[in-house]
Amino acid sequence: MLLEHSPPVRADTGLAITLTINGQRRELQVTPWTTLLDLLREKLDLTGTKKGCDHGQCGACTVLVNGTRVNACLTLAVMKDGAEITTVEGLAGLGNRGGSNALHPIQEAFIEHDAFQCGYCTPGQLCSSVGLMNEGHAHSREEIREAMSGNICRCGAYTNIVDAIEDVMQGAAR
């Protein structure tokens, strides 16, 4: 549909945007209806971020946009032009670990606390956990549970997920 007073801006071939994804600057062409989730998975082979419900209800697609956790499935890529995106593939690279293969502390804590079973929700849980710690509003176990309510785990690993987050938060406070 075109409107008379404005030039057509539909771009079936894509609009040029720039995203910094896991520290790497990417010049991309995206159609306006491409979600950030589909861009990551289908165009960039970053399939760590999962598509669960695709409607913002399960949290499996959680990524960090400029350090803030959001649902990638409800985000149009074109609207995030210029942003820094961190996915589960980039978590290990956070915190200046200088090229080592070390995992992010939250990833180590998930392993330590057995905080997953099937693992499908885990990339979203991990990114959401980092977002939660960046926000700094949750302190008690109850507050962590409430602040993680946007990430569903059908295996029911919730208790261990909270244990893992609490462990990392206490470690950071030490």
């Binding site: 549909m1 075109l2 409107l3 008379e4 007073h5 404005s6 057509p8 801006v9 539909r10 771009a11 079936d12 609009l15 306006p32 209806w33 979600t35 695709d54 409607h55 913002g56 949290g59 959680t62 803030t68 956790r69 959001v70 649902n71 409800l74 985000t75 149009l76 074109v78 609207m79 959401s128 977002g131 939660l132 926000e135 509003h137 008690s140 109850e142 507050e143 549970r145 409430e146 602040a147 993680m148 309510s149 946007g150 990430n151």
Partner: protein
């Protein structure tokens, strides 16, 4: 999702200029993109307003001006909001998830559409989605539907928690459009379905919300947002109560009360508020107000339970507000 034009606006005037039939403004997108995936919304053009300078929170005429693009998270965690309008903070944090609140905007929250199952399901008729096709919720699956102000065309409810607090706080919505700027009292912003349920609000075509203005704080201590739902977090309200009280000793000086999950808009009853004023802050007074409010309730086939739930929630909410012990956001036991 349908194909659409994309325009990124740099100023409010540009955004208004880019508007035309079939266009939608987009900010957080958490509701609009979801609806587009279901083909409930099929805009021909999206006008991206996220680059407009409307995300500030500033002091304004003794109160606070919330920029339309301030995210729900930014508002909820603002120190001034926490100190002066904790009712608003608690209502925002009772809704959605952290991810959604990080994306969703103040203006967009006001424009959320109902979560009626039939509205979302394009295989069924719906007067809100396709005017004139009928309302299968009436006589259908209507456990979550309205008990106040519904019509023969539509029994959907308004989904926002934030708006229930804004109704009790008597905010003002400032909008800008082709005819210039105007302000809309919060009580007049949303509308009842009547025979045109496809229209949720009194916002005119092409108008953009630029801010939500809060009047001087009256309920920094005596308030609550009590939300009752099917699970303890991340679910829409079956019934919610936003209550604010000003006390003079044990006497109620001012009472403001709005209900969520029960009507097509945040539900207020001015008579009940007036009845409370000058009365002692006791359970008996609260029960009188609750009885008056629910006397207007009309159940559907499967939501009659909401009437008693609302009556009890109103009494408990007013008790929590009077005692200065608002409902906890993380300990979900109702005290």
């Amino acid at each position: 999702m349908n194909r659409f034009d994309y325009v990124r606006a740099g100023t409010v005037a540009e955004a208004v200029q880019a508007y035309g039939a079939g266009a939608r403004f987009i900010a957080g997108g958490t509701n609009l993109i979801d609806l587009m995936k279901y083909d409930v919304e099929k805009p021909g053009r999206l006008i991206d307003i996220t680059r407009l300078p409307l995300d500030g929170i500033e002091a304004h005429e003794g109160g606070l001006r919330l920029g339309a693009l301030a995210t729900n998270a930014k508002v909820a965690y603002d120190d001034r909001v926490a100190a002066q309008y904790p009712l608003l903070r608690n209502a925002i944090l009772a809704g959605a998830s952290a991810q959604l609140r990080n994306a969703a905007s103040t203006g967009g929250n006001l424009l959320q559409r109902t979560r009626c199952y039939y509205f979302y399901d394009t295989a069924t008729p719906c007067n809100k989605r396709e005017p004139g096709t009928g309302c299968p919720a009436i006589g259908g699956v209507n456990r979550i539907h309205a008990i106040f102000g519904a019509s023969e065309s539509c029994i959907a409810t308004h989904p926002s928690d934030m708006c229930i607090a804004l109704a009790a706080l008597e905010a003002t919505v400032r909008v800008s459009g082709p005819q210039g700027e105007r302000t809309i009292p919060f009580a007049d912003f949303h509308r009842l379905p009547g025979d045109s349920p496809e229209i949720d609000t009194n916002l005119a075509a092409g108008e953009i919300i630029v801010s939500v203005d809060l009047p001087e704080s009256k309920f920094p201590q005596h308030y609550t947002y009590l939300k009752l739902r099917d699970r303890l977090s991340y679910a829409f309200a079956l019934v919610s109560v936003a209550a604010g009280i000003e006390l003079d000793g044990d006497t109620i000086k001012t009472a403001r009360l709005a209900l969520g999950g029960v009507a097509h808009k945040p539900w207020r009853n001015r008579e009940a508020e007036a009845l409370l004023e000058g009365k002692p802050a006791t359970r008996e007074s609260f029960q009188q107000a609750a009885d008056l409010i629910v006397s207007e309730a009309k159940p559907q086939s499967a939501n009659g339970f909401k009437i008693d739930l609302a009556r009890r929630a109103i009494v408990r909410g007013l008790e929590q507000a009077a005692a200065g012990t608002p409902q906890s956001l993380s300990d979900k036991r109702i005290q």
